[in-house]
């Protein structure tokens, strides 16, 4: 008689799942860390974990489409002679020419200008396409200083000193050889085709005291006209915000860990930084402690997709939000219509993140002339404008429902949290209670 060992069904380890194993095999085969674009793909507490309360007997709502709910934002009122006026509280985040095609940059400029907001240069300098199409253009001052020059500085409407990015706080830029075309190489003053790693720290200042002098220099060069932003990745938002204010910033840009990047090590994207949700209240606290809330403006980014996300960030105290990945999606990135082509690259629509390889079938994250050609900057710009307008309407819808005639009147009291984690991070009560972990005076924590 043969003995049959009863079998269990095959079971995969939750720890060593398909992705983890594929990464081990990938590392073993290639000997290089995984580099990709996009933002953190793991689930972290986010705006989805908050809800608006809406109006009730104690608060009355405003009539949709009839009673005004203003969305304009002024940035740079602290020191700049020429503050920036935006019609909507959503800006286009800094994304470099190099990472993006010239057509994509132009499309961003067109879309933002139609919608009444600003775009931002990136780690590669200012292109005439972008300056030409962007009514309001923020010029980034980055550690690499590629293409930096006083003429572009003066052409800008604001200057953003980049200290860090949410996708890689503490890391520098990367642009791999495939994307260093002649034009990109020339703008960055680098040999063509090399794997270019930009510095993670500014070459001529370290620390808040130096930053104050650096800001003074930039203001002197530009006659104190331009708002000066300081952009930080979400790590120590209370202190970074306080130090940026002390150093003389007009605007603080705070980018949480979900924030996108053009190319960074996966280990960085998924394992370094604070979720956007956890960044906002400490930053607002710093502004309030220094008496600077609404005097120094706070722009929040990292995983903003909808008007609801934006409205929640505003309710937590931000003055505006900024978008990267969502703007690229509006232009046509990861569109299911291109699924066949994504599959040829070993991925599928919605998952494509090898932006560093420069083979983007949508013509956005590439320097290949044939691929870039595919993106019509006028049409793509229109799509972005539509999307920005929808987001703005959504913010207004929520704000009116909460009884506010300006989006800046949204407040934490309009919110509740679905999870304990979100309640603790956003410092708003767990739904149905008047309590959140860490609430001053609350017992049991």
């Amino acid at each position: 008689m043969t003995y049959h060992n009863p079998q269990t069904v095959p079971r995969q380890s939750a720890t060593f799942d398909d992705y983890a194993l594929s990464e081990i095999r990938r590392a073993a085969a290639t000997g290089i860390y995984d580099i990709r674009g996009g933002g953190s793909k793991r689930r972290v507490p986010h705006f989805d974990d908050l809800l608006f309360l809406g109006a009730s007997i104690s608060r009355y709502p405003l009539e949709g489409y009839r009673e005004k709910c203003t969305t304009s934002v002024t940035l740079g009122t602290r020191f700049a002679k020429k503050p920036i006026e935006l019609k909507i509280p959503i800006t286009i985040a800094g994304m470099s020419f190099g990472a993006l095609s010239a057509n994509a940059k132009e499309a961003l400029g067109r879309g933002a200008s139609i919608a009444g907001t600003s775009t931002t240069t990136g780690d590669g300098g200012m292109t005439p396409e972008e300056r030409g199409q962007s009514k309001t253009l923020v010029y980034q001052y980055l550690p690499s200083r590629y293409g930096m020059n006083p003429d572009d500085l003066r052409k800008a409407d604001a200057i953003e000193v980049v200290v860090g990015q949410g996708a890689k706080p503490g890391g520098g830029g990367m642009l791999l050889g495939q994307k260093i075309s002649d034009r990109v190489a020339e703008m960055r003053n680098l040999p063509k085709g090399i794997d270019q790693r930009s510095a993670c720290r500014h070459p001529d200042w370290t620390g808040p005291d130096d930053l104050e002098i650096k800001i003074l220099e930039l203001r002197e060069i530009t006659e104190w006209e331009k708002p000066i932003y300081v952009k930080v990745g979400g790590t120590r938002p209370y202190y970074d915000t306080a130090l940026a204010i002390k150093a003389g910033a007009d605007v603080v840009v705070l980018d949480g860990m979900q924030g996108g990047t053009a190319a960074t090590q996966e280990v960085f994207i998924e394992n370094v930084g604070l979720p956007t949700l956890a960044c906002i209240r400490p930053a607002v606290q710093a502004l309030q402690d220094l008496g600077m809330h609404r005097k120094v403006q706070l722009i929040v980014s990292g995983g903003i997709r909808t008007g609801a996300d934006a409205a929640k960030a505003l309710a937590l105290g931000a003055d505006a939000v900024s978008i990267g990945i969502a703007a690229l999606a509006a232009l046509g990135d990861n569109d299911p219509a291109l699924d066949d082509e994504y599959r040829k690259l070993g991925t599928r629509a919605g998952c494509y993140d090898d932006w560093h390889e420069g083979r983007d079938p949508a013509g956005i994250t590439t320097q290949d002339p044939a691929l870039s050609q595919r993106l019509d900057p006028v049409r793509a710009g229109r799509r972005l404008a539509n999307y920005l307008k929808v987001m703005t309407l959504e913010i207004q819808t929520v704000a009116r429902a909460a009884g506010h005639n300006h989006i800046h009147n949204l407040e934490p009291e309009d919110l509740c949290a679905l999870t304990l984690e979100a309640a603790a991070m956003a410092r708003v009560p767990l739904a149905g209670t008047d309590w959140y972990p860490g609430k001053p005076g609350a017992s049991g924590f």
């Binding site: 690499s144 200083r145 930096m148 020059n149 085709g193 510095a199 070459p203 220099e217």
Partner: protein, 228 residues
Amino acid sequence: MRTIDLTKSNIRELNEELHRQGGGANEDSWEVLNPRGAHAVAVGVDAPISISVKGSVGYYCGGMNKQAQVTVHGSAGPGVAENMMSGKVVIKGDASQYAGATGRGGLLVIEGNASSRCGISMKGIDIVVKGNIGHMSAFMAQSGHLVVCGDAGDALGDSLYEAKLFVRGSVKSLGADCVEKDMRPEHHAALTKLLKDAGITDIKPDEFKRYGSARKLYNFNIDNADAY
């Protein structure tokens, strides 16, 4: 000649006046008195004028300079002539950290010593130092020339791109991917011109060694991981 005394005027007034120069009705000779270590002296100037600063300056003197000739009769704080585009900045004394950082053109002459990170991330500027330079100089230097008549500190030219480095004295250590290279006739000629432009007549180009990038880190290779 126009004189601006920084005990009577502030930095804003100084820079505003200097920025008004250019395009015709120039006062082409300027003297700045009593800088007393002020920051951002003569930054963002874009005119073919000469500016003589009588004393020592703080951070970023001559920052983003275009066309102007700035002479500091004293020492300079961090980031002197940072991101200079063209023109000439001369420091009669010593210079602190990051001298000539990210500079894209023009000539920076330091008659004394320069500190650490001299020529960091330089992108086309020429820098001539009569004395010594500190550690990590020419870090990630992309293009341009750095000439050192004295000695260089640790990790010279770390992660160097295409900048050319000439050192007359000793080099304490070379940074990752920086190697000694042959002095070919074109280098000799470039060095001769730079020494001349810097007003150095008593030192000969033959006394220098040339350093540059081995270009081994240009494309990622895991076997170079120690250098990253």
